[in-house]
């Protein structure tokens, strides 16, 4: 049943959303690398006034094993207020949770409970037969339904693309693209909703990623290195922009939240020329899309003895920018360096000239920086998935990248931890450090904040 007034977590503009109350809960995707136990949704208490602050207060095991939870999203968000097809009286209530390895999509109800409750399972076969895809990844609530990107084809390697799910029944409606042009590889997507533009990025097909990064493919520059721009309305490919094939794996896409703006940031995992990582800006130049490298993060030299096999030949630690996040006011960009173990904060008030204004060290392939809450414990993994609160004051990070890749870069075990950074002072919160057994042996990936966060909602009003 619908509500009488709009869901209070829907905001017309990014400015309104930035004034939202702080989140009290965070949902974290947790997975068992051995696939012997079920993956789970862990729920963290993020209310500093609460006695269980920083603890896992909710937990829901999945019904199966081997899903490899990764990214997930909400059934509805602020785009429900958009004037072209408004439906503001639905509830932000269900988490849409894809299993990246199993290709199942789970729907969990969060209303009136701490531990989410399963309400629906979309089987891999439904996704495959109706949309032709597998390995579902990013979820965004949008104008035509729920958009879910997928890395692979059904029963074949590719192309990957986007499937549409019904807003309310969560049934797979079909494949989104009507004309995909040259696009084959898929990963993330988002849009400039008021400009009818959708953007997609590229990682690799299932066989290129599921058993770890393949050295020959990487050095052969076979992973993704392009962005694709689409007509959101006509579902057509419009333009491909190549970053250059040395720039392997442009992953997370963070368009400006201000709907009048037409630019966004994408993080590139590594350059095969010097193992550096980078952040690029896409923007409109005339009537065409262009990209420009705006942040360059060099590799850090290291002794081969300290490096895992995959890196020994290079004698350096690549930063591995695997996630970035843009604050709702479009003023701050957070960049995860999962290899070197660093979270960087940039002032991006001029998107063409980001200025680094903060850095926090945690973990890292060589550095193994500890958290101040447990100074004696060297940490494996690094800041990876990064999520920013709607008001831009709190930043949450988790430390696992992707099961098989964790094992390559942190072969002695990646562990599991989550940390919280105060955006103003850019220091770690010593009261917030769930780790180790708190996550019951599972690894932790994406965080979603109650009521929405910086990567969950799009807005139709400036």
């Amino acid at each position: 049943m619908t509500l009488w007034t709009p869901d209070p977590t829907f905001y017309p503009s990014p400015r309104d959303a930035a004034a939202a109350a702080p989140e009290k809960l965070a949902y974290v995707a947790a997975f068992d690398r051995s696939a012997e136990r079920p993956d789970a949704l862990a729920v963290l208490d993020t209310d500093p006034e609460s006695s269980s602050y920083g603890q896992v207060v909710g937990w829901t095991d999945l019904p199966y094993t081997g899903d490899e939870l990764h990214h997930f999203g909400w059934n509805a968000c602020s785009s429900a207020l958009c004037p072209s097809a408004p439906h503001p009286h639905v509830e932000r209530r269900y988490l849409i949770v894809p299993g990246l390895r199993s290709s199942r999509i789970y729907v969990y109800d969060t209303k009136g409970r701490v531990s989410p409750e399963l309400v629906k399972v979309v089987e891999a076969e439904d996704l495959g037969k109706r949309a032709g895809y597998s390995r579902p990844h990013t979820v965004h609530c949008g104008p035509e339904g729920l958009y879910v990107s997928a890395l692979g084809g059904y029963g074949e390697e590719g192309p990957g693309g986007i499937a549409i799910l019904d807003h309310t029944s969560f049934e797979v409606l079909g494949r989104w693209e009507t004309d995909r042009g040259p696009q084959y590889l898929a990963y993330d997507f988002w849009w400039h909703i008021n400009h009818d533009v959708l953007v997609t990025s590229e990682w690799g097909t299932p066989s290129m990623i599921e058993d770890g990064v393949v050295g020959e493919l990487l050095l052969g520059r076979k992973y993704g290195h392009r962005l694709h721009f689409w007509d959101l309305r006509r579902r057509r490919h419009v333009q491909e922009v190549d970053l250059g094939d040395q720039y392997q794996m442009p992953l997370e896409l963070r368009p400006a939240h201000d709907p009048t703006k037409k630019y966004g940031f994408v993080g590139v995992v590594t350059s095969v020329e010097d193992l550096s990582a980078s952040v690029w800006l896409w923007y409109e130049e005339g009537s065409r899309w262009a990209v420009r490298k705006v942040v360059d993060i060099p590799a850090e030299p290291a002794s081969p003895d300290d490096l895992p096999d995959v890196l020994k030949p290079f004698g350096a630690v690549p930063p591995l920018v695997t996630d970035i996040d843009l604050s709702v006011d479009d003023q701050r960009l957070y960049v995860s360096c999962w290899g070197t173990g660093e979270l960087k904060q940039f002032d991006v008030s001029d998107p063409f000239k980001p200025v680094e204004i903060g850095s926090v060290r945690l973990g890292g392939i060589v550095r193994r920086a500890a958290h101040p809450a447990a100074p004696g414990e060297p940490l494996a993994g690094g800041p990876q998935m990064v999520e920013v609160s709607r008001d831009g004051r709190r930043v949450y990070v988790t430390n696992s990248l992707y099961g098989s890749w964790d094992d390559q870069f942190y072969p002695d075990g990646v562990g599991a931890w989550m940390a919280k950074v105060d955006a103003e002072s850019f220091t770690l919160d010593e009261r917030f450090f769930p780790h180790g057994d708190d996550f019951r042996g599972l690894r932790v990936h994406q965080t979603r904040l109650q009521g929405g966060d910086a990567s969950s909602d799009s807005y139709c009003y400036p």
Binding site: S13, P83, S169, I193, H195, P462
Partner: protein, 199 residues
């Protein structure tokens, strides 16, 4: 009495953000242009008028071949069914695309009004137009459609300007009452009213 009902229904349609004033405001905000807002409103009204006029045409054509009583009963049944469907169905209007030309905006408004049964809501009035000779129902119906749309347009324009100039869209968070559900009740009510009138 009839005229008041037609005007009030027009105002009711005009108030609903989904019927178009909000789209006009969004277009104005996007380009920081009140002119664009003002251009959008008449086009939206035109689409609404087309949707309502279509119902008038159908009623006019049907009225020429069936008796007034049959027309009223048929209309009442359609209204109740449509209202209940709106009340119970969980589907909502889908439309992708924010950058519309003015003709596209008129088409959007026509679809939005039609899907919501804007014209159907006028059936109680239309079926009460004295059935004289054949053309009477049609011309009377068109007059109803025109007056209704004028009321809708004036209401929408007033709200759009107040929101654009003074209130800001944040007001939606509190003030956007679920008019769709009320709308469904209104459809059912109009159907019952029509049926009672026919009895």
């Amino acid at each position: 009495m009839t005229l008041a009902a037609v005007v009030l229904l027009g105002a009711f349609h005009g108030i609903n953000p989904a019927m178009g004033w909000l789209f006009a405001v969004a277009r104005g905000l996007q380009e920081r242009s009140r002119d664009l807002l003002l251009q959008s409103l008449p086009v939206i009204a035109l689409g609404h008028l087309a949707s309502v006029a279509l119902v008038v045409l159908v009623v006019g054509a049907t009225g020429s071949i069936v008796t007034g009583g049959a027309l009223a009963i048929g209309s009442g049944v359609i209204l109740v069914a449509f209202g209940l469907w709106h009340l119970l169905a969980r589907r909502h209007f889908r439309w992708v695309g924010m950058r519309l030309s003015l003709p596209q905006l008129a088409a959007w408004s026509f679809l939005m009004s039609s899907v919501h049964g804007a014209g159907l809501m006028l059936l109680p009035v239309l079926t009460r137009i004295p059935a004289g000779h054949h053309g009477h129902l049609l011309s009377g119906g068109m007059l109803v459609a025109g007056v209704h749309t004028l009321a809708m347009f004036l209401t929408a324009a007033a709200i759009a300007l107040v929101v654009y100039e003074f209130l800001g869209v944040a007001v939606l968070r509190r003030a956007w009452f679920n008019l769709d559900r009320m709308w469904a009740f209104a459809l059912v009510g109009a159907g019952v009213f029509t049926l009672v009138g026919a009895a």
